[in-house]
Symmetry: C2
Subunit: 383 residues, 2 copies
């Protein structure tokens, strides 16, 4: 994740230690390591390595075997991680019993937040360019030619409008076919989460006046947590500077990200998306996927989950479980067949602001995470 035009309190690649108040955090957060990657993912990696080093220094061994896997392209869609990497090292990965994603995650109240799964994701572009099907093939035309030449801009707007209704339901045929209904376990966790949902605070946090279509946040909370989605991240066509250039663009582009839940798969959904555009008369929409992996899901009762909860308990910290996280992490590398591993992330320690200015990991949080890792590995070894 590059540093764009963010304003940092310290150089983003120096890893300076600042007081919490210097980066607008409460005083009780104490000293903070401020750097790009402090939270995502250099801080947790160093914490984990420090824990293993301490174990070897103090005990001479580590209670479980550890295989490290690194994905240097997670922000770019993990195409090599979920593809060639996994294929190349499948035999080695088959020796693993669980997959653990280094994700210290104490929330504002201090609870460990544990996500029992991750949405799958596909992101990329929908593009229409003039060509054999119609449309200007050699550059933009003067606006009135829109009367007798097909318009990539109109057609992309029309194609996008076929994807979703105004309530937010995806209209791609069969999109929801394989959505696994919430289990009894999921329902129970949902009820717990909903009990602590603060509608007004959430509106303030998000900077919104109303939830979708004026419905209540409580009503939409399960949708937010549990449903798959297609988001428009951006779109562009033609000139959009000052005034209007009355031209007829030869190209229109939309950036989208699709987020799936178990048991949807990306192959299935991208196939359905292609069929959708073809059936609805938009064969000219090119679907260019740049990052793509399946959803993953682990049970509350899986040994790794229980070890994580017990380890936090031993440090006096409560765990809040979400049935699934709304964002994507490519844990499907481990949770998909043939590995079928339980695969989740968790841990103690305060950190935040991934992808934005003043990303941080509190010094106390880093120490706590190192201790937590030792506790967790012992709990895992006890299974």
């Amino acid at each position: 994740m590059p540093v764009d035009d963010e304003v940092w309190a310290a150089p983003p690649f120096a890893a300076e230690i600042l007081d919490a108040r210097a980066i607008d955090l409460p005083d009780f957060y104490g000293k903070c390591i401020v750097a790009r990657g402090a939270r995502n993912q250099k801080g947790p990696i160093m914490g984990f390595v420090n824990a293993l080093r301490s174990l070897r220094a103090v005990r001479g061994d580590i209670p479980v075997n550890v295989i490290f896997t690194f994905d240097g392209e997670e922000e770019l869609g993990s195409m090599n991680f979920v593809g060639p990497f996994r294929q190349r090292f499948l035999d080695e990965l088959k020796q693993a019993d669980v997959a653990y994603y280094l994700n210290p995650s104490q929330n504002a109240k201090g609870d460990q937040v544990l996500y029992l799964g991750n949405r799958g994701i596909a992101f990329g572009e929908l593009e229409i360019r003039g060509g054999e099907w119609g449309g200007p093939a050699k550059g933009p035309l003067f606006a009135p030619h829109d009367l007798w030449v097909d318009s990539p801009a109109w057609r992309l707007a029309q194609a996008l409008a076929t994807l979703k209704d105004r309530d937010g339901n995806i209209l791609v045929e069969g999109f929801y076919d394989n959505v696994r209904p919430p289990s009894a376990e999921d329902r129970e966790l949902l009820e717990q989460l909903k009990a602590s949902f603060d509608e007004e605070q959430t509106k303030r946090d998000l900077g919104i006046h109303r939830f979708k279509r004026g419905r209540s946040g409580s009503e939409l909370y399960e949708t937010f947590l549990m449903r798959p989605n297609i988001n428009i991240d951006g779109y562009s066509s033609g000139y959009t500077g000052a005034y209007v250039k009355t031209m007829f663009p030869d190209r229109a582009l939309a950036k989208i990200d699709i987020r799936l839940v178990p048991d949807q798969t990306m192959d299935e959904i991208l196939g359905k998306l292609r069929k959708h555009f073809d059936r609805h008369g938009f064969p000219e929409v090119e679907i260019k996927i740049q990052g793509c992996y399946n959803p993953s899901k682990t049970s509350l009762h899986a040994p790794i989950t229980q070890a994580a909860i017990r380890a936090a308990d031993l440090h006096g910290v409560k765990t809040v479980c979400w049935p699934i996280y709304y964002a994507g992490i490519p844990m499907a590398v481990f949770s998909d067949p043939p590995l079928n591993l339980p695969a989740i992330g968790f841990g103690l320690g305060r950190m935040g602001r991934e992808h934005i200015a003043n990303e941080y990991f509190t010094v106390e949080g880093l120490h706590l995470y190192e201790k937590f890792v030792v506790t967790f590995l012992h709990e895992l070894a006890r299974q």
Copy 2:
């Protein structure tokens, strides 16, 4: 019209005289004045003034009275010309019998092209920003919040899709109500134009493989010449650079231009557009008009038209009449009530490439235009 990143054969504001071949024109075009404004509109203005000066020098007078009006904002929508200017000088303008737009216009074959009207135009922006109605009001959100917060990007795509069907018909209620059907005169001119329409050449000129929806250009020719339209000039929302930023934009913008034909008016159509969005559940679409004027139409049998045709005849040049031009020029300032003047543009002389690199007026064309103006003014005085 500024010079952006165009590549010119001579400095665009020097008005150098170059050989036709230096700007990729046929040799028989001879010497060419190459400059921004050579064709639109400094060249014709100087030609007209030169003609009047010559008349006074040779004859001591001019056969008709002339009132000059200048619009310095034609490329920006002429809002002051059609508004405050017209209002301020209405009494002076009431003294006029005809309105003439300086538009020497010989085509490749050498014919004078005379447009018996101009489409009206409105251009501007359709914008949706998060706010009271919903949507992110304080900047973009992380993509998954699209599941429970209204999305300006989705809603603008859906709103645009309600404006036009896939065949290009405008779906704004009552949009075509006041379109004046082609007169017998229009029909005759249309048939003449259609007789010389070259489908394959037009496709090559436009750089297209097919006309709209695979229909023939002949079939769509009348639509192209005679129908009103809404064009998407461009749109933008969110991030559209390399890869995808999986965010949920708080703003979506479309640039549009609307082109009207007699007897539609901009007030009528913009009112209908507002009602359309409201009725279809998109009250949050803001319509921001930056330029706007009504269509204009003059009869083939109007004295000014006949004088123009006779003047060209006297120079041995044939005239091709179009019922209306597909582009807009604010002649409604003169042709709308209370003035109701016949108001058209025409003239001899070869020139072209307005708005693009190597805009030109041939030297011979400038001389011919000056002579034509003298002939035309005499023909007009004879009425």
